[in-house]
């Protein structure tokens, strides 16, 4: 096998990446347009005023606050539950192991509209009013798998011998967890947590069903898409959200680098 890539391969890979990024660049471009109502290309002029307008809009700040709050709680819950499953899955081959894998995978393998609709029905039957917590409940359910994937990938690479060594030296299970397992898992959990956070922050389909009248950033954006108010403001928010997710993804990449090929591999 040649070690140098052939030209068609290089071209196809480059074009593929371009295909993935051009639309995002267009969003950026239209955040600076002077034309408020339509999207003529090329934009008639460029301005910075939409950033100031977006800054003054209280509805954006409120949605942003709720999104951050929901993402933080959902991530925390997913971290706890995902790590527990990962621990059980790497420890032993037990009856029903494949079924558990399936169960964890189901919330993201099934369309989000089902998760959302099912939960809304359940909240209705149980008489639970919509609140921040109903959104968190929905988000945590599909964030578990991301934390689980990251933790399992790291645990597989971890030698079982160091856990046995810890036990031989007299540490009990909890000490082993605290001093041996947790430091080794730390960066994988941080990476999984960041990806879960980004996923929750961006989720719209389940949220439309579990939010009631509350508005997270994606819900706000959906409303702006259907009933545009000041179109370029939507672009400004989109740009800020993009920049805000760039950092955790970059961090997650550097945290799981070095052999962990499955990090973030499955959303």
């Amino acid at each position: 096998m040649r070690s140098e890539a052939s030209f068609p391969l290089k071209a196809a890979a480059a074009l593929g990446l371009l295909f993935l990024h051009l639309p995002i660049a267009i969003i950026f471009l239209y955040a600076f347009t002077t034309e408020e109502r339509s999207y003529v290309f090329p934009p008639p002029g460029l301005t910075l005023k939409w950033f100031a307008v977006a800054w003054e809009r209280p509805d954006i700040w409120q949605a942003l606050g709720l999104s951050l709050q929901v993402a933080a709680w959902a991530t925390l819950l997913a971290l706890i539950l995902g790590t527990l499953v990962a621990g059980a899955m790497t420890r032993a081959r037990f009856f029903g192991r494949d079924q558990v894998t399936l169960l964890i995978l189901l919330p993201i393998a099934l369309p989000g509209i089902l998760t959302g609709l099912a939960m809304r029905q359940a909240f209705g039957v149980a008489g639970i009013p919509f609140s921040t917590w109903t959104i968190v409940l929905g988000h945590a359910t599909f964030c578990i798998v991301i934390v689980h994937n990251n933790a399992v990938a790291r645990m597989r690479r971890l030698s079982g011998a160091i856990l046995e060594a810890s036990a031989d030296l007299g540490a009990n299970s909890f000490q082993t967890f605290r001093h041996i397992l947790l430091p080794n898992l730390g960066s994988a959990l941080l990476a999984g947590g960041m990806l879960a956070f980004a996923l929750s922050f961006d989720e719209v389909i389940v949220t439309t069903f579990t939010a009631g009248a509350q508005s997270t950033i994606p819900i706000w954006m959906l409303e702006e898409l259907i009933r545009p108010h000041q179109r370029p403001v939507t672009n400004v928010v989109a740009m800020v959200v993009f920049a805000a997710t760039f950092l955790p993804i970059l961090a997650a990449y550097y945290l799981t680098r070095g052999g962990s090929e499955t990090a973030g591999g499955g959303k």
Binding site: G16, R91, L103, L106, L114, I249
Partner: protein, 310 residues
């Protein structure tokens, strides 16, 4: 252990218990997440599907809470069957297109990119994956609109006749790209492509170099190596990716609403039936279709080893 070390308290006693009964620890670890997933998730899903056994009274429009199979049977009406067929074909087309587009990117990133370029490729896929879904749909609305960038580019490069010829094709064409199946297909492919690239790349990274060398030592051409060695080994990754591209297209209700010719898809049908139409039983019956399809799909995927590639 107790013979050598003094017992220091509850933690030690529990450790001994875990040691003697490893299953106890496994059960303890699994209990909270399984409780969550079964009670919160499976429970509400089952309650929803049960609604499908109820029906809606044609005159009052109210849900009749009596067991009946008529709602599920109405899925086989021609109008509803065409929705199912349309959605599944779209999901299949999107999955195939994603696999074809993803392969060169994944292969280059897995086998050729080194150091800094590896990071560029990884982030180049991760960023579109994690950037807002709505933002991406919105971007394509701008690109595909009648006065949008694609029309502008076609005019600037004097290829407008080509664009018009494509749009005049039966079924996939339409008045403009943003109101045609072709446009919808493009947007779906764009939005779900990264989900295919990542597992595929992970699978390709695990293809041993020695096998490729052996293949060419035995006289295989590059094409033969690709078809007979690389693709079979990459299959679990491709199937893992297709779980996402297929399922996400199957249930999406926002893209068909914003791009396309208002023809109904499963997700849209469910959304409208439970909302404005107030026909929750039929919405539930429609929901069963993607669940059944995905359960079969996941069953096949597990056999092909896709779960290890996730």
């Amino acid at each position: 252990m107790t013979a050598i070390l003094p017992v220091r308290g509850l933690a030690d006693r529990l450790t001994a218990l875990f040691w003697r009964h490893p299953r106890f620890l496994t059960a303890l670890l699994l209990a909270p997440p399984l409780f969550w997933l079964v009670a919160v998730y499976i429970g509400s899903l089952a309650a929803l599907l049960w609604q499908g056994f109820y029906s809606v009274d044609d005159f009052s429009g109210l849900v009749v809470e009596e067991f009946t199979l008529s709602t599920y049977a109405s899925l086989f009406k021609p109008a509803n069957l065409s929705i199912l067929w349309r959605t599944v074909s779209m999901a299949g087309a999107v999955t195939i297109a994603s696999a074809v587009l993803a392969f060169p990117i994944a292969w280059y990133a897995a086998r050729h990119a080194k150091g800094r370029w590896k990071a560029v490729f990884y982030l180049g896929v991760m960023l579109p994956l994690w950037s807002s879904y709505l933002v991406k749909v919105y971007a394509w609305k701008l690109i595909l609109a009648k006065e949008g960038i694609l029309s502008w580019a076609a005019e600037a490069s004097h290829t407008t006749p080509v664009l018009e010829a494509v749009l005049s094709l039966p079924v996939i064409g339409g008045p403009s790209l943003s109101t045609s199946y072709l446009g919808m297909f493009l947007v779906f492919t764009y939005v779900w492509l990264p989900y295919m690239i990542l597992p595929l790349q992970a699978a390709l990274e695990r293809v041993p170099q020695s096998l490729l060398e052996a293949s060419s030592d035995l006289g295989a051409t590059g094409r033969q190596t690709l078809w007979r060695v690389i693709l079979p080994l990459a299959m679990p990754g491709m199937v893992a990716g297709s779980i996402f591209t297929f399922s996400l297209t199957l249930g999406d209700y926002i893209i068909p609403q914003i791009i396309g010719n208002s023809a109904s898809f499963i997700g849209m049908a469910v959304y409208q039936l439970q909302g404005t139409a107030g026909n929750l039983p039929l919405a539930a019956a429609f929901s069963v279709v993607p669940i059944l399809i995905m359960l079969v799909y996941l069953g096949i995927a597990r056999r092909l080893g896709a779960f290890d590639a996730l």
